[in-house]
Amino acid sequence: MMEKVASYPDSLTEKKFHYCPGCTHGIVHRLVAEIMDEMGIKEETIGVAPVGCSVLAYDYFDCDMHEASHGRAPAVATGIKRVHPDKMVFTYQGDGDLASIGTAEIVHAANRGENITTVFINNAIYGMTGGQMAPTTLEGQKTTTSPYGRNLKEAGNPIRMTEMLSVLDGPAFIARVSVHDPKHIRQAKKALRKAFRLQKEGKGFTMIEVLSTCPTNWGIKPQESLEWLEEYMMPVYPLDVYKDIEEVE
């Protein structure tokens, strides 16, 4: 008999993802679902879906799900968590959602040490709306709203939310990971699992920034996207653990 060694996680519903071919949103969904499976928490978890390509995340995760308005997932999650402090609450947000319109909400959820986990998908672009510049868009990167390439003089530098939030006292764990190859995917999962575990232990705010691709709006093929991520995004967004309450303690 054959033994299953890797298969569709229980914490995902049957719905097919609507993501474009090769879009790594799906990998991150799977990782989160696997963690829910492994921790056995899908019946005690409430996920908060953002406004962004992952807006339909509420269709995919097989746990209670709550829509947020654009950028406000951390506030919505705060509302939920304060009502159910014993439940697991996570937000899943894009870079437009978290690093632009939702800046105040993520900063203050982090600063309060709100006991939630944020999965932050940095794909250096607004995917959902058709490829506008994000605060995380790279220098020179062309988007529909930076048609001549991002100009730092006008638009500023790509913002590093992970570094910025790690300065605060509230977060228990913040790390940046990537999902451009299986090795990094495994590391990403490790980081995500730790974030969920720390939440379970009531340690405070945790966030995992995941470098992710948007083949459609980057205008390149899925495989090239993984390479572009590694070559261009990683130097600007170094992978590392930026805050770890367990190392301090």
Binding site: E43, M65, A68, R72, A75, V76, K81, R82, V83, H108
Partner: protein, 352 residues
Amino acid sequence: MAEKQLMKGNEVIGEAAIRAGCRYFFGYPITPQNDIPAYMARELPKYDGVFLQAESEVAASNMVYGAAGAGARVLTSSSSPGISLKAEGISYIAGAELPCVIVNIMRGGPGLGSIQPSQSDYFQATKGMAHGDFHLIVYAPSNVQELADLTFKAFNVADQYRTPVMVIGDGMLGQMMEPVEFMEPIDPDELPKKEWATDGAKGREKNVINSLALDPRDLEILNERLQDKYKEIKAQEVMYDEYKMEDAEMAVVAYGTSARIATKAIDMAREAGIKAGLFRPITLYPFPEQELAATTEKIEQYLTVEMSAGQMLEDVRLAVEGRRPIEFYGRMGGMVPETDAILNKLQEMRGE
């Protein structure tokens, strides 16, 4: 418990909410309603409740969205500019059909305006709060006792219809003290469980709180449900009050603080031989349209009095439909109508 207390309107809101089983407050400071968060900050911990000062009204609105979705009775309060910031979130709450209570203690506008009492957010509260076809149930108490009763009621009605409910007052009502008697408190643990809430899918299908529909027909179906709900609310929830209307030939239409002030002018008018009465909408939405329309049988002239440039005036006109003349007297920017001026206006209309 049934003993009368002398309390500030704002604090009464807090106390009535707690008695209605509300254990969650999310808000952001703004004058003239700061006693509400202060009261909640002081009292909620005594009930194991949560007071959280949000980073902004936008965040507060979305915390309410989350907490309401999670099944709680939840309150937020603000004043005019802060309500404008909550608008998007309120649209989501309405779209996702969640119950919650929102208090607006209005101040002068537009912009930063002034912190003095005003009623210039009527349109916002009853019509164009935000994008999309939705309404709030809007209660407009005119004294502190009513503030207590309607705040209490607001939570029940919100749950009943799964809809956001607004209690609207002005700075004066929020700041003044009057005697008040409270309802018996409700134990939130004894309230019926909300089967649709996001509180963990143990032993049931997952719940989703949501206002998005990719297919416009699905969204239309949601909207049809909302419209049916509003029809039901119009049929069931209209509230209004009358003062000396039995034999009145002229009616002042006013709500909240303006209505209180008008009663005095009406007494003065009666002394001066004018048969005036007061028609006071208590629900601004649903507006007592039919009830007001019915008064056109006997009432010859109407005077709408507001602390605004004339907003409820449109609903009065919609009810009266040109059958009788309607005049308007309003003060703006935080100024309060004067009884003398109302009286003068009534006399003038009478051709006196």
